[in-house]
Amino acid sequence: MTDHSPSELAPDDAALIARWRGGDERAATALVERHAQAIARFVASLGERDEVEEVVQDTFVRAFGSLDSFRGESSFRTWLLTIARNLLRDRQRGRKRTRLHVAIQDDDLVSASDALEGTVAMETEQRLRAAVETLSPMQRSIFTLRVTEGLSYKEIAVAVGSTEGAARVHYHNAMRIIREKIDE
């Protein structure tokens, strides 16, 4: 059905990991550049705003420091997502405050001048993003992984610490909510 099984490690990732294990630091750079943006999107979808880069960086540092435990049973990206989620949870616990549901900030909204200067496409994009922001953190993270990465429910379940069934329900609820928001 799909081009690649979630249980298989993409050949390029496997080769880069092997090179890094052999001491090639450039392989680490390539892995970071390949996956950093996806990890950042996931981190942001979980409500982190101010320290996305720091969380992404910590994720890779932790990952490279524990590559011995990575057996390639899930994709490298899914494994990174799992580490990022755990790191984020630890940070949020440390702050002793919940930042999971981030209110839409002023600069996320279309200002009058933006609307005048922007194109219709930009306005549409802002509306879409605003609709996504109304989702719960779990709905938003699952929806983002599904739409931007095309991850299967099984991969998403691993990444967010849930089940395939729950991931499916969250995705469809998210889609319903977004359609309702856009139709308003």
Binding site: G22, A36, R41, F60, F64, G65, M138, G150, A157, T163
Partner: protein, 217 residues
């Protein structure tokens, strides 16, 4: 608009948008979309949403790569070894043993006062509790704590004396600052890294999402 009657194909729309379908499946989904207004609308929405979501957040991947390189200098061949399960268990056991030692010390003091032996911990000679001395600082990922779980005995023994001779304070409060810092650092190190790739539905930190919670907002 007619409602979609093929949920399985509709469920593949995100894969279609992300180019994750093989040729045969892609044709099947596209044929379905051509005949299903609801899926056509959803596909259009997904194609609008994806670029909008892809653009944020803006990060500097090269800067992150440089920072990661700096922190993992030397590559995989010299990368810091992970503590691993064995070390984690050792730390957990060490914590339990120290707590038990503290309780034992308290019990011993009470016992000295009452003269009635109740419970004591008999430490096997072959597996002594050994906490690194303060002069040997620990790294968070290089735990040198070697312990064996204490056993409960039914009669009083010279356990406090035995523990003291093994270098373990009778009370947790008697630990040196360095020992407390080492233990705390060890416990802090237990977070974030999954032992391995987790199975679907199993939260490595034990906080799985209940299916029942997925029923909408």
């Amino acid at each position: 608009m007619s409602e979609c009657t093929n949920g399985a194909l509709r469920d593949l729309l995100p894969e279609l948008v992300n180019g994750r379908l093989d040729a045969e499946m892609r044709q099947r989904v596209e044929a379905h979309v051509a005949a299903c207004g609801e899926c056509a609308d959803e596909l259009a929405l997904l194609r609008s949403l994806r670029p909008a979501l892809m653009r944020e957040p803006v990060i500097d991947a090269q800067r992150i790569a440089a920072a990661v390189r700096a922190q993992t200098a030397g590559g995989g061949s010299r990368a810091p070894a992970r503590a691993g399960n064995a070390a984690r268990w050792k730390v957990a056991i060490a914590a339990a043993a120290l707590l038990a030692a503290g309780a034992l010390g308290y019990a011993a003091k009470v016992h000295r006062g009452s003269g009635t032996p109740d419970v004591a911990i008999a430490q096997p000679a072959s597996a002594p509790i050994a906490v690194p001395p303060a002069s040997a600082p620990l790294h968070a990922t290089e735990h040198q704590v070697a312990v064996a779980p204490p056993r409960i005995a039914t009669r009083a023994a010279s356990a406090p004396t035995a523990l003291a001779s093994a270098g373990v304070p009778e009370n947790v409060s008697d630990l040196s600052d360095e020992q407390v810092r080492a233990l705390t650092a060890s416990l802090d190190d237990l977070s974030a890294i999954p032992d391995a790739e987790p199975s679907a539905g199993i939260d490595p930190l034990g906080a799985s999402i209940d299916d029942a919670s997925a029923g909408g907002r």
